[in-house]
């Protein structure tokens, strides 16, 4: 075989190998950002890039902080734990998303609590943390179910959540000047407003027009 023939053969082989590599089956990345650092960090990244998850957590943290140190400590441990349990349930028995109505509901309820600075007892705040932690964690687990991040991914999300609750609740609990608490309440009203618009979009996109 002459030199040109050898080159053609090499090119053909390279093309076939390249095509085969591109066509190799890989795991589905459903609604997930792959970091390349493993499932734990995929869970971390997913949380920080998902406003439907991070905003309710932020709202609950702000509210717990407004209610004082003791309530903040309760939310700090209860919310990530409930989230993790809900996530495991979601991994095991998932339902198809998107969970837009859950996001709307959590924006509206938790945002309104922050905006009104509602005087709830620590026990009630603990109940809220438990309910929203389980529900949002379940949605998170269901999102992860078709992917290969599994339990480590949910653990990564719960760990991120723990850090966020710690920082946000501690910051708000330490506020003394009245205007700083007002700024937090204004943020709550913005969350309510975003929830209302999101509810409108939900019915605008999928539901019947009134």
């Amino acid at each position: 075989m002459d030199r040109v023939g050898l080159m053609k053969r090499a090119v053909h082989r390279t093309l076939v190998i390249a095509a085969s590599l591109f066509a190799l089956p890989v795991a589905a990345d459903a609604h997930l950002t792959g970091t390349g650092l493993g499932p734990f960090y995929d869970g971390v990244t997913h949380f920080f890039l998902s406003p439907e998850q991070i905003i309710p957590v932020l709202a609950l943290s702000l509210f717990a902080g407004l209610r004082g140190k003791r309530t903040g400590r309760i939310a700090l441990f209860l919310l990530p734990t409930a989230w993790f349990v809900g996530g495991l349930i979601g991994l095991r028995w998932p339902v198809a998303g998107p969970f837009t109505l859950l996001a709307c509901f959590s924006f509206l309820v938790l945002g309104a609590l922050v905006a009104s600075d509602a005087d709830l007892s620590p026990r009630l705040v603990a109940g809220l943390a438990l309910v929203f932690g389980l529900a949002l964690g379940y949605a998170n687990g269901s999102d992860f179910s078709p992917t290969n991040v599994g339990t480590l991914g949910v653990l990564g999300t719960a760990a991120s959540l723990f850090v966020l609750v710690t920082l946000a609740a501690a910051l708000v609990a330490s506020l003394r000047a009245p205007w700083t608490r007002i700024v937090v309440r204004v943020a709550g009203s913005w969350i309510v407003a975003a929830g209302l618009l999101l509810l409108g979009w939900t019915f605008h996109s999928h539901g019947p027009k009134l």
């Binding site: 609604h31 406003p51 407003a193 975003a194």
Partner: protein, 196 residues
């Protein structure tokens, strides 16, 4: 030999390929579109800044109550618009908001707190109904909503910040002058709305 290679290539191309289920796209676009929309119309901008100016003139607790009322009620109006609930005379309502809020700043009107909140809330419904329905195709509705609310809130904050000059005598006159400008602009917008 050649046919075997071609067969192998075809088989490889038909192999199950990447699956990107629920691929995320349009999120940044949605956020930026939401952020841009409230500042895209002068009638909206003037009304929202006026709410902040009026709140600054009225002082606490109106200084924070009015900018809280406006975005929430505006979002409610936006939700009604998105759900297809009709609201007649939206453009006229927006123009009237400019006139009334401008006059309130001009006259340093001091109604009871609840009355100020009702006035601001009533006009916010018109602004919300007109806004919020122009999402670029494929963009994220959630991030559009978040960007939209942040931009609205920042416009109020701009008004409140400008209203700091109210503590000086020259600043009070400057605020009243800006109220007059907003009222005149509102009258112009009303003229256009009625003419169309």
């Amino acid at each position: 030999m050649k046919s075997r290679r071609v067969a192998f290539l075809i088989a490889a191309m038909l192999w199950p390929t990447f699956v990107w289920a629920h691929a995320e796209s349009g999120r940044a676009e949605g956020f930026l579109a939401g952020l841009h929309h409230p500042i895209s119309g002068l009638d909206h901008v003037l009304a929202m800044v006026s709410v902040g100016l009026w709140g600054a003139q009225l002082g606490a607790p109106a200084i924070w109550l009015l900018p809280v009322t406006f975005p929430v009620v505006m979002a409610f109006g936006g939700m009604l618009g998105l759900m297809g609930v009709p609201l007649p005379g939206v453009e006229i309502g927006i123009a009237l908001s400019g006139i009334l809020l401008g006059l309130a700043v001009l006259a340093e009107w001091r109604p009871p707190l609840w009355a100020a909140a009702v006035v601001v809330g009533m006009f916010a419904i018109f602004h919300g109904h007109a806004h919020g329905t122009e999402l670029p195709p494929g963009a994220s509705g959630m991030l559009y909503s978040i960007g939209f609310v942040i931009a609205t809130g920042l416009l109020h904050a701009a008004g409140i910040t400008a209203g700091i000059v109210h503590r000086w005598n020259w600043g009070r006159w400057a605020l009243r002058f800006s109220g007059a400008v907003v009222a005149i602009a509102g009258a112009r917008f009303l003229w256009i709305a009625l003419a169309s």
